[in-house]
Each structure stands twice: as structure tokens, then as C-alpha cells.
Chain length 198, copies 2
Amino acid sequence: MAGPDSAIDRLITLMAKLPGLGPRSARRAVLYMIRKRALLLIPLADALSEVAQTARNCVNCGNVATDDLCEICRDPRRQNGTICVVEDVADLWAMERSHVFQGRYHVLGGTLSALEDRGPDELGLPRLIQRLESEEVEEVILALNATVDGQTTAHYIADMIEDGVMVSSLAQGVPVGGELDYLDDGTITAAMLARKGV
Amino acid sequence: MAGPDSAIDRLITLMAKLPGLGPRSARRAVLYMIRKRALLLIPLADALSEVAQTARNCVNCGNVATDDLCEICRDPRRQNGTICVVEDVADLWAMERSHVFQGRYHVLGGTLSALEDRGPDELGLPRLIQRLESEEVEEVILALNATVDGQTTAHYIADMIEDGVMVSSLAQGVPVGGELDYLDDGTITAAMLARKGV
């Protein structure tokens, strides 16, 4: 737009690769940034440079972090003894937004997959087993996605964990605010089978 | 997510301010970047820093540029003698994508608006009049949006320009209420080729 070699065009091309953005919305976003130079462009450039220099995976749990240990692993107020296993950092963030869990996490970075060549080592499962001992873990909560791959992985992990550590998984049922008419049969069946007295 | 003070959270907050992105898609985009460190995160940080340092408005036409003059104003292959007046840089980019126009541009940065306190000076109209003389302009093409404000501004500019300079506007083909940035190239080309005197 400003010439194929210019930094502006390179920025548009790169922005268009982000999920949820295409060429058109990348152009719009870049123009908007340039217009909001002091409020957006410069702070964004600074934040992105800092993230590019510091972002890494927490050596303990696999969360994204700006240090060797993530904020959650460093936080002394978080309870030891309970580890919540999630597939992905996005899932960890979703859990954190609900404020319901005060323990530690373990991020797999995916599910077991023969097709994509992801075995137990790629998911950091040996490290999870180590943590069970070193952190004196009493409960492992398997918060994996309710997909076939997620549930297969959950079963594998549950089998792997020795007796003496409680293993649980998220309850399945009707989501809050959900309407039965819009739910799939599987969810209704699960909710029915797991019904409880009121 | 990684702690309220971290660069990652600041980056998410800033990304969520971009048009077309919200908190959820900003989180997704940032996680995606961190995963594609070498391919996306580092090049994007570099491009953004460079744009933050170099982006400005062309002193001649108002286009965004990484130098005092934009690539179009510097390009000796572009024809002098014809100036295409557009409301916005996004409109200039839309015109350039159609490849139909080989002259120079003048970017107003908006339309005349009493409500928003934009008069002829804010739109750089005195500079446009100067350019008509200094660049020996024979034709001014008013490629303003087919909105009420755009057409009011077009009439104002047409009245302002002295005899001896031809003034034309984009032909019918631009849908009423439509904006250049959202049009397909074919429509822009057709409208450009069928331009008529006012």
C-alpha cells in the first residue's frame, strides 16, 4: 500500500496471519494504529517487543510466562496439593477467569495423537508424574476438552497416575444459561445420567 | 492471564483495542503469536517498532508514509497533472488495489463537518489549491465516498477550484451509501473509467 518494501506493508502482511484477521481487517487495524500513534501504536510496539524478548513457557507447568516460572507457579497464595491438567494455555486462562480454582496447573500443549505424533513425552507427562511426588499432590483434576481426543488423553493420564492420588474430571451437564432445545443429545444424556437430588 | 502487570497482559489489552478484535480474539492472537515465535512474534515486533518510529503523513498528499514523502509522491513513474482526492488513506489503498489510476493523490482525512468542527483548513484544501498550481494540474478527480458528507464535500471542492482545471467525480457504479474501502476492484475500475465532469 505504501510500497511493497515498506515496514507498513510488512506489518499488514504479518498482522493478516493472526487468527481472526484477514488482509482487509489487518489493513484497517494498521491504519487505526497509525492514527492512534501515542495511545496505541507506540505502547503496542513496546509491549510486543517486550513479549518477543521475554515470553517463554514456564519450566514447571508449561503456562506462558515472562520468566522461568509463571506467575501462578511463583504465587505462594496458590494451594499446593491440587493440579489441574489442561490441554492448552487458552484453557488455563479460561479456568483462571472463572476464579474457581486456587491450585496449580499443568499444561499439556495438546492431546495424545498418533496421527500428529504426540506421545506422552511431548505432553510432558513424565514431568507431571514427577510433580505428583515433589509437590505432594493429593488430587489431579483433568480439565480436558470434552472431545474424543481430550477424553482419550484423560483416560490415559488417569490410568498412569498411581493409587493414593485422587483423579477427577470436570462434571458434564447443561451449561449455565443453556436451553435444552439448543443442546446436543450427548450433553442432555450426560446431564440426565449425572442428575442429582435437589 | 499471566498476571496483571506482565507484558503479555498489556499486549492483550492493547490488541483488544484494535478494530475487529475483542478481548477473546486478542487473547487468541497473542497466544498464537507466542507459539509462532520465530515466524510471527519476532518479525511482528520488529515491523511494529519500525512503523512506530517511521510512520507519518506524507507532507505533500497526506498518505501514510515511512518518509517525509510517500512512495506515490516520490514515484517518478506516476503522472503529474491529475490529482485524485480521497477522504481517507484506506480509500487511497482501495484505489491503488484497483490499479486504474496512475496519477497523484490528495488525502483529506475526512469530510467537511460542522458538527465535528472540520473546515476546509483541517482537510488541507488550501494545500490542494497550492498543488493545482505548483504541479500544473489539469484534472482533479473527486473520489469521495457516495455518502451525503462525501458528496457535500465534493461539491464544495468543485466550487473552489478555478476554471481551467477539469473537475470530475467517480461515475455511477458506486452504490449509494457505499464506502470505497469495502468495494471490489471491478466496481472501482468501472467507476473510475466512467468518470464525468461536474
